[in-house]
């Protein structure tokens, strides 16, 4: 039987379904590898300078401003970490942040609408990896940074540009696959 245009038209639904099936399979595949997350955002500030801000003292920290951060990053790239005392994954990544800090990577922490006692307790319990700590009292700072949950981490290079961002708790694999190459690139 000759392959007429009619046959081609009848194949169309199968072709569409097939393409969709392949796409879904790829999505599931990448989801199980952790490379595809339909619930995550891409932060548009990556590749741009970090916004102007100021955070107030909390816990053992004295707070800091954008100028402070710019000055410090010009000397050595800084990892800015948004956290909260009630946040479980933040507790989970505290060790990792601690070891990064011990290696010489400056880690600065910004707490999200947190309180003195809770932050102090959190840092006592899980360790304090932060060189500087501040509290975003109003919630404006996190919005200006495009943060929508905690923890989130940003790597600032010597020019004050955000070079890397991750929403979620850091893990060994992530540090190895993404953070270290980024640090190397801007060193």
């Amino acid at each position: 039987m000759s392959f007429t245009r009619r046959h081609a038209l009848m194949l169309a639904p199968l072709a569409v379904a097939g393409a969709a099936g392949v796409a879904f399979w790829k999505m599931l595949d990448r989801m199980s590898e952790g490379k595809f997350d339909p619930h995550a955002l891409n932060n548009p500030l990556v590749g741009k300078p970090f916004p102007d801000f100021a955070v107030s003292p909390i816990g053992p920290g004295k707070g800091f401003t954008a100028a402070d951060l710019r000055a410090a990053a010009a000397v050595k790239p800084v990892l800015v970490n948004f956290f909260a005392s009630y946040c479980i994954p933040c507790a989970g990544e505290a060790d990792l942040l601690g070891s990064l800090s011990a290696e010489g990577v400056p880690v600065w922490g910004i707490a999200w609408k947190d309180h003195q006692k809770e932050v102090s307790q959190f840092l006592d319990r899980y360790g304090d990896p932060f060189a500087r700590i501040g509290n975003d009292e109003t919630g404006r700072v996190i919005i200006d940074w495009g943060v929508y949950g905690v923890p989130e981490s940003f790597l600032i290079d010597r020019n004050g540009i955000i070079r890397w961002h991750y929403a979620g708790g850091l893990s060994d694999d992530l540090v190895h696959d993404e953070l270290r190459p980024a640090l190397k690139a801007i060193a």
Binding site: P13, L14, A17, G21, A23, P38, L41
Partner: protein
């Protein structure tokens, strides 16, 4: 022991389903009378096995058997009995079991009610149903077995989400699933007919009752879900274009097209390819919807616990069922002979337009729902497609549909002229224009037009009945006699179409809504929407597994007391969740809707809504389903083939 019995019954059902598939397809292929005759028995057997399995799960829930992992995760001793039972299908594993059970009920129904079908067709239909069942039950057994045990059993279960402890939500899954799964029967008919290589008028007649039944259930299921959201979520919203809601709307749209398209196959042996594709497509959308909801790919409030491994299994099942049927379609559809030429303006033409519009709306919903994950996968871009998009794109397609809905049934077959037909419905058109004009006084253009369209649909739907009974043109007795002679399906169709108009009026009524948020202490009074609201009392009212605060609100209209309303706020200690219990008072024309919010310094936040015509949204949906049900009682659907002669030997088709 009972859970083990349940597990065994599930496995048995899977084997029976496999046997049903093999025996049915092979028997029909070889025209082996005994094999073909054995298939219905296997289908009924599968149903019985699944009934036992489901019964075992319910038994375990009722008896608080926490050695069953599923019961331990989803139930608790303190849960009321009704919710223990309904909780069996309120989780992933249980809902898969429910799917399988309903699929087996469909098979059993075809076995019992389908005695008039030629045995080859029936065997093939049951075979396809068996194959689908087998795949689903295999999925249940391997990745989602509700009978997995844990040892030692915990002392109490982890309780269920308090949000699901609600009558509306308890019965929404079975009704919705009956709709979803019921479309497996038209699907099986389509595949069976493609295997056979022949679709004729009789096929159209046999398929329609099954499609109509599923459609009616699906309509009710969607309406129930929407109504539940309305009274449970606490801000008067009832449709959010949430991906899971969309997943139930997609098969509804193509299912509606199917129900209409099958008419043309039956009456004119035309539109065969459309109808077959719609039958395959509707069930494919049901299945895909199941996959999407459980895969984690979509951003939805409804998402079950996500496990990509489960997603892969369902994807494989989908590939087999959908891919297989579409491949068969591609190979066999070109061979389907078509009869019945028709002019563009004719009833067939109107039904083609109906198909195109419904399928376009479905395409918009599909593309809109799937765009975010696809854009992420292919382009790395994160975008959102929310309610504003759907509202903007579905409305322009729905408008011609509403306009044509009333005109379509009036057109004769094969060839028609539009003007005389519209003249038959002149009174409906006039009423619509009058209503629209009247409405523009009080509200904006779009709602006014919507009310006009609703009038047009409701009145125009009965235009055919008016025509055929020569109402107002002959004495009433004569009209009545004619009405009695009309096929019931005509009345059913009119009612169903009118139901759509009622729903449209309900949706348009939102333009007249009013709301007010206040911070009140006991004794304060407020005015909103023409009603006076007074906070009388604020007190504690604890329940079996929650603590609550209840407000007593006294409502008056123009000084006339209407009654008391009791909105409350519940705190479920075990789940650390707070829910609001909205107080609704309805007179079926408007809903009074009061929500109690947080309390601070002796003042409570209260919201007063007056939702005009809101009840019509769901009443309209139930009217639609009722119209469908009425159509089912039409004699013509039951007297399809000559009754079987009382002889033991049978000539196969």
């Amino acid at each position: 022991m009972i859970p083990e019995l349940g597990n065994f019954a599930l496995a048995l059902a899977c084997c029976l389903a496999l046997a049903q598939a093999v025996v049915g397809i092979w028997g029909a292929h070889r025209r082996d009378i005994r094999l073909m005759a054995a298939t219905p028995g296997l289908a009924v057997g599968q149903f019985l096995a699944l009934a036992v399995s489901a019964g075992a799960l319910v038994w375990a829930a009722v008896h608080d058997d926490f050695s069953v992992a599923n019961i331990a995760e989803n139930s608790a001793i303190a849960k009321p009995l009704m919710y223990k039972i309904s909780g069996t299908w309120g989780n992933h594993e249980g809902s898969i079991l429910l799917w399988g059970l309903i699929l087996s009920i469909c098979g059993a129904a075809v076995s019992i009610a389908g005695k008039n079908l030629p045995s080859a067709l029936r065997a093939r239909v049951l075979g396809v149903l068996g194959g689908t069942s087998c795949g689903f039950l295999l999925f249940a057994l391997t990745t989602s077995n509700p009978f997995l045990r844990i040892w030692p059993p915990p002392a109490d279960g982890q309780g269920m989400n308090p949000l699901l402890q609600d009558p509306g939500l308890a019965f929404h899954p079975p009704i919705l699933y009956t709709g979803y799964v019921g479309f497996a029967v038209p699907f099986a008919f389509a595949v069976a007919a493609l295997i056979e290589g022949r679709i004729d008028a009789a096929w159209g007649r046999w398929v329609r009752p099954w499609a109509l039944t599923s459609w009616a259930f699906l309509t009710c299921g969607i309406a129930l879900g929407s109504w539940w959201a309305y009274y449970e979520l606490g801000w008067g919203g009832y449709w959010f274009w949430d991906p899971v809601e969309n997943a139930s709307l997609m098969p509804w749209l193509t299912g509606t097209a199917l129900v209409h398209s099958a008419i043309v196959v039956e009456k004119r042996e035309s539109l065969k390819i459309w109808t077959v594709l719609l039958a395959i497509g509707t069930f494919s959308l049901s299945l895909s919807g199941t996959f999407l909801v459980r895969s984690g790919i979509l951003n939805s409030v409804h998402s079950f616990a996500n496990d990509p491994a489960r997603g892969i299994f369902i994807l494989a099942l989908l590939a087999l069922v959908i891919g297989g049927s579409l491949l068969l379609f591609a190979l066999r559809a070109p061979r389907l002979a078509s009869g019945g030429i028709f002019a563009p303006i004719s009833r067939e033409g109107a039904l083609v337009l109906n198909n195109i519009l419904l399928c376009s709306i479905c395409a918009v919903v599909v593309v809109g729902t799937m765009y975010p994950p696809f854009a992420d996968l292919l382009l790395g871009q994160k975008i959102s497609v929310g309610a504003p998009f759907f509202n903007a794109t579905v409305l322009p397609l729905a408008i011609p549909l509403f306009a044509a809905m009333a005109v379509g049934p009036l057109l004769p077959w094969k060839r028609a002229r539009l003007l005389p037909v519209i003249q038959h419905a002149w009174w409906a058109a006039l009423a619509a224009v009058v209503v629209s004009g009247f409405c523009t006084i009080g509200m904006k253009v779009l709602p006014a037009l919507a009310f006009g369209a609703a009038t047009w649909i409701i009145l125009g739907s009965f235009a055919e009945v008016v025509e055929r009974t020569l109402l107002f043109r002959t004495p009433v007795a004569s009209s009545f006699r004619r009405a009695r002679g009309l096929p019931i399906a005509v009345l059913g169709a009119a009612i169903a179409h009118a139901g759509m108009g009622v729903t449209l009026a309900g949706l348009a009524g939102a333009a007249l809504d009013s709301q007010k948020i206040v911070s009140a202490k006991v004794g304060d009074s407020f005015t909103s929407g023409g009603y006076q609201w007074t906070l009388m009392k604020l007190e504690d009212a604890d329940g079996p597994n929650y603590t609550a605060r209840v407000a007593t609100v006294y409502v008056k209209k123009d000084g006339v007391p209407l009654g008391l309303m009791y909105p409350s706020r519940r705190n479920f200690t075990l789940q650390h969740q707070t829910t609001s219990d909205v107080a609704i008072s309805t007179n079926l024309l408007r809903d009074l809707y009061v929500v109690l919010g947080e309390e601070r310094d002796g003042q409570a936040v209260l919201r007063f809504h007056v939702n005009v015509l809101a009840p019509w949204i769901w009443i309209g949906a139930f009217i639609m389903a009722a119209g469908g049900a009425i159509s089912l009682s039409d004699r013509r659907l039951r007297v399809g083939a000559p009754s079987r002669a009382r002889s033991t030997t049978e000539v196969t088709a």
